[in-house]
Every structure is written in C-alpha cells, then in structure tokens.
Symmetry: C2
Subunit: 371 residues, 2 copies
C-alpha cells in the first residue's frame, strides 16, 4: 500500500470520519477542555512544555492551565512542586529548561486530576496499580479520555497486557497512546522530531493531535493504538540485540541487518498475537524510527553492549551501574515475548527474538544472535 | 501484508515457480556454469571472495574458476593482475584480504567474459557505455544472464535510466541486481550481513542465490529488480539529508525522522514513476537496512555534514577533498529526481526530496530540511 499522505503535513482534518474538524472535537460541549498530566519525570516535563504551549495557544479548545501531578520530593530543603511553581523548572528531571508558567505542579493526585477532560499518563507503569484506583475514586467527568505516553508493557499468565488497556479498564475510559523516536532531552531542546498518536477513535485522535502537534514535534495519527504501543515495547528487545552486535565489535552492516530483521519480527509478532494491527504503523515514527534511535542510542543498546563486553555481568548489575537504578523494560519483554513464542512453538519464525532471549537468559554465545 | 518467511532462512526452494530447485537451474543444460566478474574494485574484490568460494563448493553448478576482469594498473612496477594471480590479494583496492586461488585476474576484457554463462557487473556505471559494446562484440553464450552490483543510476531527458536496463538492452540479456547494507570492508571481514537479489525471473533468482548466499552473507530474492535498484540510488539522496542534520548538530530523533520520511518518499517515488514495484522490497536489506547504513555511515552522509559545516563549499570540492576524487551519486540523483518531481508538479508530495535538492543546489538554508 502506498502512503498517500505528505509526511510533513499534519493529518488532514478529514481524517475524522465524522466530518469537519470542529465537529470532531472531544464532545459536543464546546467548553475548553481541562488537561492533567500524571507524571513529571524527564519525558513528562519535556512534553509538558509542548502541551502547555498548545493549550495556551488554543483557548477555545483548552483550559489554559496544565495541571501536572508531581510525586513530591525534597530538593535541598524545598518541595519539588514549589520549585516548579516558583522557578518554573523541574530541576531534578529536566534541569536547564524552563516550563511555561501555565504548567502548575500539583502534589496531591486527586487535586491534580479533579474535573479533567483529558488525562495524560507519563510515569513508570508500575505506579498505575496504585494510582488508577485513586483516580477512579475521585470520580471522572463524562467523556474523559486518556492518553498514555508510557513505554513498557505488563504481563500476566496469558501474555502481554498493554498499558493503554490497563488504563482503559482501570478507569473505564478510552485510552490512546503517543509513541515515537522521542529522546526527551532532544525534544526539550526543540530539535525536529516526529511522534505517532495511536487511537481507537479518530475523533479522539484529531482532538489529541491539537494538544501535542507543533511545527517541531510532528504528530501523525493512526487508528491502531495497540500496534503503536506494541512497537514501543518490542523495539527494546531488538535494541538489546543491537547492543550485542556492538559488544562484538560488528559494524554497520550487521546493525542494519538486526534493525531490519527486528522490524520484521515485530510486525510478525503483532500480527500473530493481536488483532487489527495495521501495516502502515510500522512505517510510522513509533515503528521504524523509534527502532532506529533505540538501536543506535538508548539504554537497551548500551546495556546489551556491556552484557557482551563485561562477561558474566548480570542484568541487575547493569541496571544498578550503567543505568543508576533505572530498569530495563526490554529484558522483561524479551522473556515474556519468548514465553508466548515458545508456547505456540513458533521459535523458528522468530529467530532473532529467540536468539536474543537465549543470549540474555540462557547463556548462549552472543555471536549466535544472527546465525 | 505480513511477511511469512523466517528472516534467517534461505528463500525456500519453492520460490521457484517452475518446481523443485534442480529444475530451477539456469538452463536445462546441466554443464557447470562459467561466471565472470566485470570489475575488481573494493566491492568487486570483496564479493569475489564469496562468489569464488561458492563456485568451488558447488562443482555441479559452477565451473570452479572465477574470471575477474581487472583494469590493468601498475603497482610499484608490477601489473595489478599479476599481483592478484601470484599473491592472491588485490593490494590496491582490498588490501589485507586474501582472494581464493580460484579467482583469476584477467586484464583483457574479451578473454575475461568469453563463454561466460553469468556476467557479474561491479564497476562505476560510467564505464558501461565503453564496455558493453566490446562484450557484445565478443559474442555471448545462449542463455547468458547478468547481475548488476552497481549502485547508481543514469539519466536521460525522460528521467531515470536504470543500470540493469542499460545492461539488458546493451547485451540483450536478462539482468538481475544485488543491493543491500553491504559496506565492502565489513563483508570482507566476514561480519554478518544481508543483501537483496532483485530479479525478473525466479529461475534466475534461485540460481544466482546459489552464487552469492553464504551463512554470513544472507541473500533474499525478490521479484522486483527495479524496486531493488531504485532503493540503491534513492537512499543516497536521503543520506545527504541525514548529513545536513548532523551538520546542524541535531540528534537521534531528527535523524530517525529523516530516515523514516526518506523511506516513505522512496516508496512514493517508486510507485509514482515505475510499474510493478513491490511494498515488501522496502523492508528488505536494499530498502530500510541500506538506508540506515547510508544515513549513519557512508560518504553521502559525510559530505552532507561537511556541506553544512564548511559554509559555501561546493560539492565538487567535497568530492575532491573528502572523497579523494570519488564521485557522489546522490547529488546527481537529487537533481534528476527533483526534475522528475517538478515536471509533474509533485513537490508537495515529496517535501524531503525537494528540500534536500533546494539546500544542495539552490542555496536554501539547511535548517529547512524538515520544515
């Protein structure tokens, strides 16, 4: 299928099945919508600069204040939320970049989300099981929608559980996702980049595009929330393989082969285990582009390289030393994805995922990654 | 469309429409086939190591000697062809790697190709207009086939002219192409990589796969010679854009966006101006993988970076200084591709190609590459 859309242009307003853009808005109620950002780490702070600027620029669409839930921390005797509200900078997670004054840090979760029409989730997914019941308890406005910027997936005995589905079922609201080749520091610096908004409804997609899209942060909408979110999780497995290749000292040919084979296995995995996945999703920023940034930069590539070079090192040690305590999503994903593949006896169809799992967890030699 | 083939496996023998592999061979005549390699540069020498090894390993399929046409040069008082035949090393173009003893350098073109069943072309395409008439004059065996490893395209007043078509019409033989993420030095070193054999006939594809495929050099066959060859030419344009981004100091997000948008415009361009192009080709090594290596390594990226940093420098100067006299295919391609786009008033559909052309040739600011 040929992509007919000019890549630099915004999605045309006619992507909305219901007609013109103004009919596409979140509800027929024309009140400006209140947006709350749940999370205030590195990526959350970077995206708050974009969201809050768009909210201010479109007063007919958005209430001008972006409430940002901050997990309160004490920084040199001051509360982080006070620092953000006074100095307009998240000195801990995004130092050096001012946050617009309409970003208001709120340390109480219920106060942060009260009356919100849009909930933007941007925090480690492990927090959700505690937070979602509290948000639900607070009560949600009619037609509230969610959008997850959380990269990572969860697992239960049946296999993968997508974060957007956790939010959707935890709160009873529709949940879109935003994923792409979006290294937070580069987004904060204003470098051009792209992102993909995966939604279940074009009405929601068109509205959320207004919230996220800028001239320097291009947002394409695809009607494939699951595909977009799966890309964000599966690419971390491939990035481990790219790190193994770097650790072995291989060059650009081998790295390119890993990226390509990884992309094909990502597609195949999605088609095999999920319904409604769209081919075009893999050509979006969340697909091939995010995969590339992860395989050339990124923490998974880095830890993969160390895993090969520092013979015998454990993943836990690498998380502690290389990542200063941050967790690798990709090792967990590699294990769980392999479990799903093995259960259906499909190892031969996923040779790269299988090899990466065996190298990471069964002591296989790294050189077997591509043979 | 889901790719159903396990990426590490060879193409199944059933890719041949005519039945089992043995019926797939080049002709019904079971004589071992003679192969000649026209060209002996860096890439030609690297691939000669692979071809000659396969020829020796399959005596029922191939005559064991690989004749390699060498443009004779004097190296410290000795003929290059003598050095290759005595010392088994191309000391000028692939120093440090032995060539198998069944690679025989032949300085006379007619002697090199006489009686060949397979002609492998691997030299700058500018030589073809002189060489092809000489080869034709020599006479070709019945059912002789060609395969082009030449990256680069030609142009006439109508637009792009593909090298495989030049060979095809110049010699009256079918011509396949082999392209991919194949940096010659890494192939010579035996690093794992992949390549794509684009053919017009699966019978020829299956036979040529036997000539090129090894455990470390995986060859996939696609029935889309034009698509494969176009990828090899168009990616150089995108790589110039990647270089501009590097020259401006942008990071991984921007580079990934350029690769992605470039891939989409490559697809769109092929569909627009050529018939029979297959979507899967862009997922092959010749597509996304070669594009990645070119945008992260490669001479076009490098010269693109210099073009931005060394303000006012000309492409000719960069070819002379950075490339030591080698020519950039991508600048020429950018110009000719833009001419085809402009002629059909399709600039809006090819914003990246258009921007790269304008930066390269019309003095546009490099920062306009992605806006």
């Amino acid at each position: 299928m040929q992509s007919t859309q000019a890549p630099f242009e915004r999605q045309p307003q006619s992507t909305c099945a219901e007609g013109s853009f103004h009919q596409c808005q979140l509800t027929t109620n024309r009140e400006p919508k209140k947006v709350s950002l749940v999370g205030s780490g590195n990526w959350g702070s970077a995206i708050s600069r974009i969201i809050s600027t768009n909210m201010k620029a479109h007063p007919s669409l958005f209430h001008p204040t972006l409430r940002m839930w901050v997990f309160e921390e004490n920084i040199n005797g001051r509360n982080l939320s006070d620092i953000i509200n006074t100095d307009h900078e998240n000195v801990k997670y995004l130092p050096g970049y001012k946050l617009p004054s309409n970003v208001v840090a709120v340390p109480d979760l219920k106060d942060a989300v009260d009356g919100a029409d849009v909930l933007v989730f941007c925090l480690p997914h492990q927090f959700l099981s505690t937070l979602l019941p509290k948000i639900k308890e607070q009560g949600l406005v009619h037609d509230c929608i969610g959008v997850s910027l959380i990269k990572g997936i969860d697992f239960n005995e049946k296999g993968i559980v997508l974060v957007s589905d956790i939010i959707q079922s935890g709160l009873g609201i529709d949940c879109s996702v935003l994923m792409g080749a979006n290294v937070a520091s580069e987004v904060a610096a204003g470098d051009f980049c792209e992102s993909t908004l995966g939604c279940n409804s074009l009405r929601h997609g068109a509205f959320l595009q207004e919230l996220f899209h800028t001239d320097r942060f291009h947002v394409n909408v695809v009607l494939d929330a699951h595909g977009v979110e799966l890309c964000g999780a599966l690419k971390n497995i491939v990035a481990l393989g790219a790190g193994f290749s770097d650790g072995l000292g291989y060059g650009g040919n081998t790295k390119a082969a890993i990226v390509r084979l990884g992309l094909i296995e990502m597609k195949k995995f999605c088609y095999r285990f999920f319904n409604g996945i769209k081919e075009d999703t893999f050509f979006e920023s969340c697909g091939v582009a995010d995969l590339i940034t992860s395989c050339f930069g990124g923490r998974h590539r880095k830890c993969g390289e160390h895993f090969v070079k520092d013979k015998g090192v454990t993943w836990e040690t690498l998380e502690a030393t290389v990542l200063h305590g941050q967790k690798l999503q990709g090792t967990w994903a590699a294990k769980e994805v392999h479990r799903m593949i093995a259960k259906t006896k499909a190892e031969r169809e996923f040779p790269l995922f299988t090899a990466i799992y065996k190298i990471a967890f069964e002591g296989a030699d790294a050189s077997t990654c591509l043979v």
